[in-house]
Symmetry: C2
Subunit: 243 residues, 2 copies
């Protein structure tokens, strides 16, 4: 108990481009890309994948594969699977049968950029609606100041990420003494206002409708589930592992 | 009625740094810096100032004064009045007696940057809590797509600006058919959630508390008043005038 910080500062960014990486030094960072990168990586680890390695470019993924033919490749460009890859970016593809015990290289531009923006943090986790309360519980144990990094969509705030940040904050403030920045207050209040009907608010938002047009209703339904798993992906220097 | 657009798109930015000026081409832009630049300029015009001219630097203000000794100078650096200027950035200073019939050059870094980010818009207005409904009524008549540009504070979302944007949107959607981006939905919902106690949410936010520490409680109280005036400052190519 001697290590408890008296007050945990929680800073939220609606889009990773706006972050100064130095500001995250010594903090616990949570990267949030609920539609779909962080939901997919959380699901894969929950289903037994050994490690999820985020990379920016397709050529980076292929370079790792050239060194280690056992890795699987996953990722998307404009919601579509990349040619020659094993998986796209749907959490539904990452079953226990498909990924159990395997290392998977994920090429998702936006999610990977958000992880890189957090590279100076003391620890980096992945958050989504599926594991929001588990993330909050882990943050409470770490007792570090927290930065929540929403990936956003094409440079803008994305509602599903804001609600995920808000759910983590709403849970955290019940178990810790917290100080919230204006964006964190906004995220928490939006979650509290809409927690009983997350689909109701998301159905009018941009990314949700882009996904619907791309026949991804199943992914939307999966990604909107709250607290269905206790896996918190944590970065180990190379990739995200279950901790 | 033949000019009515069937659906008005409302885009909100929480901070002007994130704006691509080209995206505002042909739109109606509203710059929002509720604590305090846009409240102050609205108040000055309401009190009879002839024109409010925003400039970035103190030297720009002094250059205009050198050409035209009749202009008054206003502005702030870190909440304080600038040496040699007639006014700071408090709306309480811009009385009818002080500014009636006068042109005033305003040097406010953040608010001026936000105006410059909107320079390609078809029209630029200034919004604050004091004139939010009047701004909405004017936007409804223009029937252009709308971008609401919050100035924010030191590069971050500022709650008082978000609530102002939300109040404009909440009013607009009662009189127009609108399509809202995710940030616009967030702004509107935050306003709806907090409209009955704006002080209650703002008292926990960053800029409010910085102002309190600088003995600006009177300014805070003034700036938080909703719909106390019908003046909408509109840019005429040189400065903002009452229209």
């Amino acid at each position: 108990l001697s290590h408890l910080i008296s007050n945990m500062k929680i800073t939220t960014f609606v889009q990773h481009d706006f972050v100064n990486p130095d500001d995250l030094s010594g903090q616990a960072a949570v990267v949030i890309d609920t539609f779909r990168a962080t939901t997919t990586m959380t699901t894969a680890l929950q289903n037994g994948a050994a490690c999820m390695i985020p990379v920016m470019h397709v050529k980076d993924a292929l370079a790792i594969k050239a060194q280690d033919s056992d890795v699987l490749l996953g990722g998307e460009r404009r919601t579509q699977k990349i040619d020659g890859f094993d998986f796209g970016n749907s959490p539904l593809e990452y079953t226990a049968q498909a990924v159990g015990g395997r290392r998977v290289v994920m090429s998702t531009t936006n999610g990977t950029k958000a992880v890189m923006a957090a590279k100076k943090a003391a620890t980096i986790m992945l958050g989504c609606l599926n594991n929001a309360s588990a993330v909050a519980e882990k943050l409470a144990k770490l007792q570090l100041d927290v930065t929540l990094l929403c990936a956003g969509t094409v440079g803008r705030l994305s509602m599903e990420d804001l609600l995920t940040a808000g759910m983590i904050i709403a849970h955290l403030q019940q178990i810790c003494d917290v100080t919230l920045c204006d964006t964190s207050i906004t995220a928490r209040d939006m979650y509290i206002m809409h927690q009983s009907d997350i689909n109701g608010v998301l159905k009018n938002t941009a990314h949700y409708n882009t996904m619907l047009k791309n026949d991804l209703a199943g992914d939307i339904a999966f990604c909107m589930q709250t607290d269905i798993c206790s896996t918190v992906p944590v970065f180990d220097g190379t990739g995200f592992v279950k901790k």
